[in-house]
């Protein structure tokens, strides 16, 4: 399966607590809910397009619990996102949970990276990570993510959980798709590439890459 990460992100790279103050106040994060002023129909179209392609979903425990609390109440059969989340195949990464009872859920514990690599080998379609900062950081650092779908919002919050941490290896990307939402977000779909760096030199009075 293709592993795709879906991340709502501030301009300064923070992915913590987009939807509300109570969502993830860990680490003293006091700016939760930063996405809400920019939520619009364009964003809805983008998010629906993600879930239209879901084969299976991989979540960290916090995101799993939060999504279960909300989406298990949405029983409207016309809601495609709820249908995928409530009835689709889900993996939840946790070393404390023993079993997960939200529909078709499997707990992944122990060697997370190795097990996710095994899940990727078994089948086709998209294995989608949504949010799940710590899990996404680990998958990014391990180079397991095949595609990144980032919605970047014009707000800066300072400290908070990031997808791209200081410890992650530098990486280049090819831009597969890019568009903007009317509320001010930028949507980018990226595929990882090798990181390249060059330098500047002046040749015959002009800048040139070396």
């Amino acid at each position: 399966m293709k592993l795709v990460a879906h991340t709502f992100m501030t301009l300064d790279g923070v992915m913590q607590g987009p939807g509300g103050a109570e969502e993830d106040p860990s680490g003293g994060f006091g700016h939760g809910g930063w996405l809400v002023p920019f939520s619009d129909a364009d964003m809805g179209v983008i998010v629906e397009s993600w879930f239209a392609r879901t084969e299976a979903i991989l979540l960290g425990r916090n995101t799993y619990e939060m999504m279960r609390g909300y989406w298990s109440q949405v029983t409207d059969p016309a809601n495609g996102v709820a249908a995928k989340l409530n009835h689709g195949r889900k993996y939840v990464v946790s070393n404390t949970m023993t079993h997960a009872d939200w529909g078709d859920s499997t707990v992944v514990r122990g060697d997370i990276i190795g097990q996710v690599a095994d899940i990727k080998k078994g089948g086709r379609g998209e294995l989608q990570v949504h949010g799940s900062a710590r899990l996404a950081q680990g998958l990014h650092a391990a180079g397991l993510i095949d595609e990144y779908r980032l919605l970047v919002f014009p707000v800066t919050v300072g400290a908070g959980k990031r997808l791209f941490t200081d410890e992650a290896p530098p990486r280049g990307y090819s831009l597969l798709e890019s568009r903007t939402t009317r509320a001010g977000a930028v949507y980018q779909v990226l595929a990882p590439e090798a990181f390249e760096a060059g330098g500047l030199t002046v040749q015959d009075g002009r800048e040139a890459a070396r």
Binding site: T156, G158, S178
Partner: protein, 182 residues
Amino acid sequence: MGAIRVHEFISLDSVIDTPSWTFQFGFDPRMGEAIGRITMSSGGILLGRTTYEMFEPTWSKRTVEEDPGAPFFNDTRKYVVSSTLTTATWRNSEIIGAYDPKRIQQLKEESTQGLYVSGSGTLVRALIADGLVDELHLFVYPVTRSAGSRLFDESLPPATWKRAEAELYDNGVTYLQLTPAS
């Protein structure tokens, strides 16, 4: 009163150190036009010491034939924020001393066309913190740098920006023009 317009080449994870990593993406002509619009509307240049010292040897030797941007950088009045430099050797330059928001505010008030800022991470973070930036022009490259000097570091207070403009270039760069949404 003139606007302060900040121009940065920035990675996807907000790093703005010496942008050698931008070269692999080439230079989209529309990006050159966008930068030209920022410089052409500005009547002065405001720089931190590090960026000034990096720009001077490169730009001061260039002519308009070699680079259409040369007259702007060489002929425009430049103000350099530095507590250590005493004399400015690049023509049309003035050292304005250590960072002082009142002095910057005064420069804004004296300026009719506004001031262009490029690079100058330490200066720009101070300007953002003091609410002195009117336009942020970010050219976002599809690269994550991980460690490196971030434009928005954790010392800055939370802020919301209004996206005034966005352009997507064929080389993968996204241009965002942001204004404070206060």
